[in-house]
């Protein structure tokens, strides 16, 4: 995910330091290790139990008659998707992908300047980078569905609210990943650009962008994958796309139609994931 370390060190033939030898384990340290291990397990299981109690976990419910009957009925209906319904959902399906594409692109473009402001190797002034990161973290704490709900309340029901939600979500994700990639680039070319009399923008154009661009594109594609999946459920809060129809069919207990939507969504998401993963592998 991050740029590989520069191979200069290896190329210069510098002698590698001898591997540090750990002191041979004594009986004491072995005993200590065992206690640490035990304590870790106890804490781990303790946390799990507390959480089970918190969510009223009832494992018997999984095997109760009611659950078995419901599951059997719903699965049975879903096994027979209503393909005649497919012709009705192409339009919202396309809209879902359009929401994802527009949201990703606008968010990614907005992320670029902010990523540059956040990266301390480009913006050593803390007075800029720290507030920029705070804004970024704030944006990232808000879940995409919450953004969608807010924008539906502000701009009304529809795909536009969904797109705006994904703009914010993509912005946060792309900016965060990109500024981390920028901080990991080789500082050598930046030094060379400074020495040749470049100003800050020229330094970014010739030293930073050529190094960070493949990572940026890779993150944008990854964000697009996540966004297609997110766009599929945005409709549950009224923010357009296929989710609205899925919600309607589930509420009217038309599991055969819901199944059609789920299968088609799955195919689209898989296709986009496959294409995107292929492209990302080509990029890096």
């Amino acid at each position: 995910m991050t740029p590989a370390p520069t191979p200069e060190a290896a190329a210069s033939g510098a002698p590698t330091p001898p591997p540090s030898k750990k002191p041979a384990p004594t009986i004491d340290s072995k005993g200590l290790q065992r206690y640490k291990m035990l304590a870790t397990w106890i804490i781990f299981i303790g946390v799990l139990v507390v959480c089970f109690v918190g969510v009223d976990a009832d494992f018997m419910a999984l095997f109760s008659d009611g659950a078995r009957q419901n599951m059997g009925r719903i699965l049975g209906e879903m096994m027979r998707p209503d393909w005649s319904y497919a012709s009705h959902i192409w339009k919202p399906m396309v809209e879902t992908v359009q929401i994802a594409i527009a949201g990703t692109i606008i968010g990614a473009v907005l992320a670029v300047p902010v990523a540059l402001l956040c990266a301390v190797n480009i913006m050593p002034k803390k007075i800029v980078s720290i507030p920029a990161r705070m804004v970024l973290n704030l944006v990232r704490t808000v879940p995409d569905l919450l953004f969608a709900a807010i924008f539906v309340a502000v701009f009304g029901i529809g795909a536009f609210a969904g797109m705006l939600a994904l703009v914010f979500f993509s912005f946060g994700l792309v900016a965060k990943l990109t500024y981390e990639a920028i901080e990991a680039i080789d500082p050598g070319p930046l030094e060379a650009m400074t020495a040749s009399g470049a100003n800050k923008i020229q330094l970014i154009v010739f030293g930073v962008i050529p190094q960070a661009l493949p990572y940026f594109f890779s993150y944008v594609l990854y964000t697009f994958e996540v966004n297609v999946r997110a766009a599929a459920v945005l409709g549950f809060v009224g923010a357009g796309g296929i989710g609205l129809h899925l919600d309607q069919q589930l509420n009217s207990l038309r599991y055969d139609r819901a199944s059609t939507i789920i299968v088609i969504t799955l195919v689209i998401v898989l296709l986009i994931d496959y294409a995107s993963t292929y492209l990302r592998r080509k990029l890096l």
Partner: protein, 263 residues
């Protein structure tokens, strides 16, 4: 061409990097700076183009004070100083030509360089610089496809594309094998002689220093302890600079026989 006036560099932790340096380097000289690691060679070199700031004193480059220069003035002076680094500092994913062209940015406005556009004359200058270091045919290859010696020549070409008056080279051959070391040093020497570019090189191989320099400056603990022509830089003098007898590994000849190397 380059004048050091009472230059002192003190690090924030109190360590003295450079202690009252006074030097006057004339146009066309090929100066080699020698000294143990930590003696201040790199600090001295990097203070010339102000990659490092000095604490007091003044450095003049071609009559202009780089110490007092700011913003655009500083970038103007830096444009006239090409720099070559130990680790080449190329953008590895970019083509050779792109790397060399990046040396031209100091001549253009921010706006025209923002989209990576360069006029045809710049392409000619870049290709010319590559021809001068004998790697014109590599122009359209990605920099990371080249060997270490070839990458260092690309970085020399990038410095040349600046049309500099001065070239600074900070341990330019420390990452290279003996054969490519000579090729790179020969390139630097030829450029110094043909284009009359004042050249200042940090080296730790003392036989290379003697072979290529017209003038040797010895640094020890941030002070100039030797400054003179090669003929005066005897083994005894080097021992003085180093504070001890010369080691085998301070001679390139120890790595490979000098006579056996062809360029």
């Amino acid at each position: 061409m380059i004048e050091f006036k009472n230059v002192v560099k003190q690090y924030p932790n109190g360590t003295i990097g450079l202690n009252n340096i006074n030097l006057n380097i004339k146009e066309g000289e090929f100066v080699v700076i020698v000294g143990l690691s930590g003696a201040g060679k790199s600090t001295l070199l990097r203070s010339i183009n102000r990659l490092h700031d000095i604490s007091s004193g003044e450095i003049l480059v071609d009559g202009k004070s780089i110490t007092r220069a700011n913003g655009k003035q500083l970038r103007r002076i830096r444009r006239d100083i090409g720099m070559i680094f130990q680790s080449f500092n190329l953008v590895k994913r970019a083509t050779v030509l792109r790397n060399v062209l990046s040396g031209r940015v100091g001549y253009h406005s921010t706006f025209s360089t923002m989209f990576g556009y360069f006029p045809k004359e710049d392409h000619d200058i870049a290709l010319d610089a590559l021809t001068r270091v004998n790697i014109r045919e590599k122009a359209y290859i990605r920099a990371d496809q080249l060997s270490g010696g070839q990458q260092q020549r690309v970085s020399i070409a990038r410095a040349l594309a600046q049309k500099p008056k001065v070239i600074l080279a900070d341990e330019p051959v420390a990452s290279l094998d003996p054969l490519t070391t000579r090729q790179v040093m020969d390139d630097l020497q030829r450029i110094n002689r043909e284009l009359k570019i004042t050249t200042i090189v940090n080296l730790h191989f003392i036989d290379l220093a003697r072979e290529y320099a017209t003038r040797i400056i010895g640094l020890r603990a941030g002070e100039v302890v030797f400054d003179g022509p090669v003929s005066e830089a005897t083994d005894a003098k080097f021992s003085e600079i180093y504070g001890r007898p010369i080691n085998e590994d301070e001679l390139l000849a120890a790595d490979a026989p000098k006579g056996g190397v062809t360029v």
